[in-house]
Amino acid sequence: MQEADAPQFRPGEHTVEVPVLKQGPFLIATVQAALTDDDLVQLRKAMIERVVGSRSLGVIIDVTAMDIMDSFASRTLREIAQMIRLRGAETVIVGIQPEVAFAMVQLGITLEGVVTALDLEEGLDYLNQRFKSNA
């Protein structure tokens, strides 16, 4: 597993690091807690650049640390998945916590059309299965 550099976002005075690691043909982005809307927008931009730049086949976005998933976050994640799909790659969102999942369905946001898995291990498993069958 190679370590890629962590892109730094600087919207205003607020700095957020979303570490993105490369594992074989896949990218793993680990989101930290307390992402502002701006951070999410930056994340979307950065993910596309990284996918294009590294010609990844798949992306895992780990949201374990996100204590809230609201409508904006869910919309942005779906947009990220859509844009990545346009580049021919797959996205898997992993690490949604039980309380967060509960709040999401109550609020009415379902992340429809986006693949989700329990955690990083499951996410990688899924991507490996997908690309094994395509090999």
Binding site: P98, A101, V105
Partner: protein
């Protein structure tokens, strides 16, 4: 309910026995009230002229002050009498004499304090903490109501004994005492009942949790058999339990069996759908088994596309499908019989 009548002091409202003075007092109440009101007015005027520095307290406040100091002065014997009568009336049998006396002391002091300050927050808080202590001991509502009314009676009689020479004064003091005493009785009783209701709710919650186990039958496979009536609260609890179970057991497939559920209203059906969606967010596939035609209809009514929901006729079939999804080979047991 009749039980609670028995434990009320049976000579408070003129039962058998020698309480003639009390009865006479009640009979003349109406007449005396008119007299008392005039007297009060006169007294207030007199007071103002007598001591210009005295705050313009109305008659009631003064009377209550007098009342409170009487209750404080006679604290020891009044408490003892009350505790004695509690035992006589066979209340608080779950507690020992010492315990009864200790609680009686605390209640007495709170009672007097509430009379003095006219505020009831401290009493409310005390009533709650008292209830927390005695409910697990099996003390019931009628006992709490009974002891509070007994105290009221003990204090009223003590006032009567003190002021019996002056009916007008007695009448006024009781007038001042009654509303406050009623409010105190109410505060304590209501506090107790609320605490009891809270405890009952907690117990119900615990029972619900126990009766809806999330079972792990194989690795990565959970079964949630639902039996009986589901209300929205229970449905929500089920969802939370299941989601936590998915995370803990790292389940990839969940079989929710609703064979044992007779009917579901739209709200609960909605919860079921939400459970399926939330499980998916955790990466688990849900198979619903035992869907009756009625429930299927309810789901369609609330707009669920049953074609999209993974349903199988019975639990066994659901488990088999789950195992297939997980990559297990399914071998019929009775093969080659």
């Amino acid at each position: 309910m009749s039980q609670s009548l028995r434990v009320l002091p049976n000579n408070w409202r003129g039962g058998s026995g020698s309480q003639t003075p009390l009865r006479k007092f009640q009979l003349r109440a109406k007449v005396r009230r008119t007299v008392a009101k005039d007297a009060e007015r006169l007294e207030r005027t007199a007071l103002r002229h007598h001591d210009p520095e005295a705050p313009a307290l109305n008659g009631t406040a003064l009377l209550l002050r007098e009342l409170v100091s009487h209750l404080r002065q006679n604290r020891t014997q009044l408490r003892e009498e009350w505790a004695r009568r509690i035992t006589e009336a066979q209340l608080l049998t779950a507690m020992s004499k010492d315990e009864i006396f200790a609680e009686a002391t605390a209640v007495y002091d709170q009672y007097v304090e509430a009379l003095e300050t006219g505020t009831f927050e401290a009493l409310q808080a005390y009533a709650r903490s008292l209830s927390e202590r005695i409910i697990p001991r099996g003390v019931e509502t009628h006992e709490v109501v009974g002891i509070v009314l007994l105290l009221r009676d003990v204090l009223a009689r003590s006032l009567f004994a003190k002021y019996q020479a002056d009916f007008r004064k007695l009448d006024r003091i009781l007038d001042a005492y009654e509303p406050a005493a009623n409010r105190i009785a109410n505060t304590v009783a209501v506090g107790f009942v609320q605490e009891r209701e809270r405890v009952i709710r907690q117990q119900q919650e615990a029972i619900r949790e126990l009766s809806t186990p999330v079972l792990q039958v194989r690795e990565r496979l959970l079964i949630l058999p639902i039996i009986g009536v589901i209300d929205p609260q229970r449905a929500r609890q089920l969802t939370e339990q299941l989601l936590r179970g998915i995370r803990t057991n790292r389940a990839k497939v969940v079989v929710i069996d609703i064979t044992g559920v007779a009917a579901m209203d739209a709200t609960v059906a909605n919860h079921l759908v939400q459970t399926v969606e939330a499980s998916r967010l955790l990466g688990a596939t849900v198979i619903v088994t035992g869907l009756s035609p009625e429930i299927a209809q309810t789901l369609v009514t609330i707009g669920v596309d049953l074609g999209k929901m993974n349903t199988v006729g019975d639990l066994q079939g659901g488990i088999e499908q789950a195992e297939r999804l997980l990559g297990y080979k399914v071998v019929p047991i009775s093969a080659g019989g």
